[in-house]
Subunit: 321 residues, 2 copies
């Protein structure tokens, strides 16, 4: 059995840090450990928080952490940074705001950069959530700072998805149309002390009436002012309410099952793509097709189809010898 | 032969619009047309423009278009929008600024939303560039508004990559570190009438001295004030100079060859991933493995490796019957 997994399951926080480092490096020992760790997951509850820059996500995470720590539960925070080449040091600033929890051994904080990894939420984040879960942490908060697929991908790890906006978040209708409505379990208009907060909340509620996803759960729309703590109690109550809904309806297990199934599929794609790249770099039998592409005798897409349907590919080309 | 390709090669602008619409829909007729179109590419010159929001990319594109149109050359503009769920209507606003070219039949403008497509610059953008090229357009400007992989992916279609910044673009060192230095052929500090423009240009030049990519081409750092047109002539001269460098050194053909090779690889990955998804949805022989995953007898990643090395996959599982 993986030694690191053993130490992690015994509750050693250093083993948790170490495993995450191994995951980040893509060390084979991490994959070995995850085989063991995986069987000990499912006890923690995971809340995903997403929203545009400036919605106050880190402050919300900070306040929720404070509130939950007062009940004695432990908290794990994962800040996902898709690392745009142009995003600069925004994350670092956010993390500094969290520093009041750094000395609290009941709070585990880790940022993860996901640059260069395509698709939705990268596998490493899912493994991190699982490692935190198995280590005995009660509540896991996953915050995505970024755009697009990674943000929407938060649904692939979260039991409850919280979408945070602020009154200046721009055209509400546009914002909600683009895939967010399908993933949100709770809406939060933060910075509610600013103009336009009520109007935004009303607009969101209006949109929700037009398009209800689940007949059983209507996403509530909350107003908070995270920097003063206003509305955080109510937010936590709603998260608990959603958790109760998921548990009693059986939806929690179903949702987690779908997430695991999707993760399998993504892992197959990832490994296939890697093997493919390795082969294309090293296999001289591809030269003929690459020369045809270079000479414009075929376009790259048609060449790809031709290759995949050729005996070259069929002969278990992707399986390592 | 594809009728639409024939009309496009005859220079019918409506055929170009139609082909792009077919590409956006994923219509098989588009793939058919691209087989023909591909053989008629290589005449146009493609400039990619990337940079953080607020760098003035659209204004630069607008001014370059104006300048190039005065020489009689035709211009195609592709604005790539990775469509964050939170990006709102920013693109639309940018496009409105371009409206002075809408009545000019020598300018072809098209925005493309790439939401839900993973990886670098999506295949559709590459096909669009190729379609514009084959239709006889002289200069193609590809502007990416967004973050991360898509921005860096612009190198996969561009002959010259232009990175636009402004004096407020934040920590220069951070900005340039994250992959941008490897792709930029030209730097442009726009909004040069604002404080800090010269300092930023100096900082970039300093960075470049430390890490020169090509011994033959040193990326120049230009100052522009796009909204007044200041520096646009010089920018265009430098683009022409880079083009001459690429042509005489043979690097242009090499670069384009690498792009086509990479595009083949990406297409293989894309088609494989699609076939995989179709199979996982429909193949009952996968049920055993999915049940093991659900029961936590295996973690999704290990299950993926196991599956790929099993006889289930080896038996040409991904090839359609």
């Amino acid at each position: 059995m993986s030694e690191i997994a053993e130490r992690l399951l015994a509750g050693e926080q250093r083993a948790l840090s170490r495993l995450i480092t191994l995951l980040e490096r893509g060390d084979p020992a991490a994959a070995e450990a995850m085989k063991v760790v995986d069987g000990h997951t499912g006890r923690a509850y995971t809340v995903g928080i997403t929203g545009p820059p400036g919605a106050g996500k880190s402050t919300i995470v900070d306040q929720l952490t404070q509130l939950v720590r007062e009940t004695g539960s432990t908290v794990g925070i994962i800040a996902v940074d898709p690392t745009s080449p142009f995003s600069g040091g925004a994350i670092l600033g956010d993390r500094i705001r969290m520093q009041r929890h750094y000395l609290d051994s009941g709070v585990f904080i880790r940022s993860v950069a996901t640059r260069g990894q395509s698709g939705g939420l990268p596998r490493i984040v899912k493994s991190m959530v699982r490692a935190l879960d198995a280590s005995g942490i009660d509540l896991i908060l996953v915050e995505t700072v970024g755009v697009g697929q990674t943000e929407l991908g938060i649904i692939s790890v979260a039991d409850t998805v919280l979408v945070a906006l602020n009154p200046e978040s721009g055209d509400t209708i546009q914002t909600l149309k683009a895939g967010v409505m399908e993933i949100a379990d709770l809406y939060l208009v933060n910075k509610a002390d600013r103009d336009g907060a009520n109007q935004m909340a009303t607009a969101i509620t209006g949109m929700l009436h037009m398009a209800i996803n689940s007949p059983k759960w209507s996403p509530p729309v909350l107003l908070t002012t995270a920097h003063t703590g206003q509305g955080i109690d109510e937010l936590w109550n709603k998260i608990e309410e959603h958790r109760k809904f998921l548990t009693t309806s059986g939806e929690l297990n179903e949702r987690r099952g779908r997430q695991r199934r999707r993760e399998f599929l993504e892992a197959v794609e990832e490994v296939l793509a890697q093997r493919l790249r390795d082969r294309v770099e090293n296999d001289p039998s591809l030269n003929a097709i690459l020369e045809k592409i270079a000479a414009k005798e075929t376009d790259p897409y048609s060449a790809a189809l031709e290759f995949l349907d050729s005996s070259l590919f069929s002969a278990n080309w992707l399986n390592p010898e």
